[in-house]
């Protein structure tokens, strides 16, 4: 990584940014869309920009997507049937 890249990385992307709270509100929808192959960065550009700029949120989002992908539908994904 050269100096320009290092500085650009430290300064983050230049784009409208949702901020942590607003991005988090959309994480679940964003993750479901991403796993389904949708172009979520186009549908949610402010969330995409935030993920590029906020390391903590990006790490959380990566974890969520991985979780959705890896923990495929199992019996735990459905609530127990009513007892009566």
């Amino acid at each position: 990584m050269n100096v320009r890249d290092s500085v650009d990385r430290a300064l983050g992307p230049v784009a409208p940014d949702a901020g942590c709270e607003s991005a988090a509100v959309n994480f679940a929808q964003y993750a479901d869309g991403a796993v389904a192959g949708e172009d979520v960065s186009r549908a949610f550009p402010h969330v995409a920009n935030h993920l590029a700029a906020c390391p903590d949120c990006n790490q959380d989002y990566e974890g969520l997507v991985n979780c959705v992908r890896e923990l495929a539908v199992s019996s735990e994904d459905t609530p127990p049937p009513p007892e009566h």
Binding site: N2, V3, R4, S6, V7, D8, A10, L11, G12, V14, A15, P16, D17, A18, G19, C20, E21, S22, A23, A24, V25, N26, F27, A28, Q29, A31, D32, A43, F44, P45, H46, V47, N49, H50, A53, C54, P55, D56, C57, Q59, D60, G63, L64, N66, C67, V68, E70, L71, E76, D77, T78, P79, P80, P82, E83
Partner: protein, 264 residues
């Protein structure tokens, strides 16, 4: 963020909703550094984060079943809570073990305990926020998110426990030496000198601390928020403003990068 920004009625309504619905931390835990209460409107506050107004979609059958079970009473609710906790624990453990290779040994040894704590906290948050579920994702994805945020925050804090955060002047005054390699040309070193000077002269003390810690030294915002008795969202805004000020300063000196202009 532009403090004088005029919000559209739709944005105001959306932000009002956010204030009520997006508090992911547990009751009484605002300020712990997790995604917490909103102190300010969203940074890109002209429109909702998705860029479009929210229209509540129809719930899928599985999500409806979860909501019905969790809103039931007696044994049905107890059963749903047990099953939800199992789901949250599975997600928390999955995430904890996925990140195990990057964690220091003392944290790696505590993964199961941390995952269990995260599942407990996530369950408490979810049961208090069922009405916030909008139905625009699967319920299980929404629930996973609480588990991931909880376990992620615990892992970061555990990993940084006892480590000193250094905001000394030395940290940024040696910027050219830290970031520039032996092969970097004079223009690269000029860029670094300009950045170092901008950090010294253009930022407030708080902006300087947050920028150095997060952007230069890689301190997780959650960890910094805990040390500064703040929240992730509040410190991210400080970082965002600091970055914007530094970029503007570099651009004034002809050292900016080709880029799209911010819309605000």
């Amino acid at each position: 963020m532009d403090e004088t920004l005029k919000l559209s009625p739709g944005a105001v309504a959306h932000l009002g909703w956010l204030r009520e619905s997006s508090r992911l931390c547990l009751p009484g835990e605002a300020g712990t550094g997790r995604i917490g209460a909103i102190e300010t409107p969203a940074l890109a506050s002209e429109q909702p984060a998705g860029g479009a107004s929210h229209v509540a979609p129809a719930l899928d059958a599985n999500s409806r079943a979860w909501l019905a079970a969790l809103r039931a009473s007696g044994p049905d609710k107890d059963g749903a809570l047990r099953k939800l906790h199992a789901l949250l624990l599975r997600a928390a453990r999955h995430e904890a073990y996925r990140r195990r290779p990057s964690l220091p040994d003392p944290v790696a040894r505590d993964l199961d305990d941390l995952a269990l704590q995260a599942a407990d906290d996530a369950l408490l948050s979810i049961t208090g926020k069922l009405d916030d579920f909008r139905g625009d994702s699967r319920f299980t994805t929404w629930a996973y998110m609480f588990a991931i945020v909880e376990v992620s925050s615990k892992l970061r804090r555990h990993a940084w426990r006892g480590r000193r955060l250094n905001f000394d002047e030395e940290q940024w005054s040696r910027l050219p030496d830290r970031l520039a390699g032996p092969d970097d040309q004079a223009e690269g070193r000029e860029l670094l000198r300009a950045l170092r000077d901008a950090i010294a002269t253009q930022l407030s003390a708080r902006q300087r601390e947050v920028f150095i810690a997060v952007a230069l030294n890689g301190v997780p915002i959650d960890v910094l928020a805990e040390r500064m008795d703040s929240t992730r969202g509040a410190l991210y805004k400080v970082l965002h403003d600091a970055r914007r000020r530094l970029r503007a300063c570099l651009e004034e000196q002809g050292l900016g990068r080709p880029q799209l202009k911010e819309t605000q």
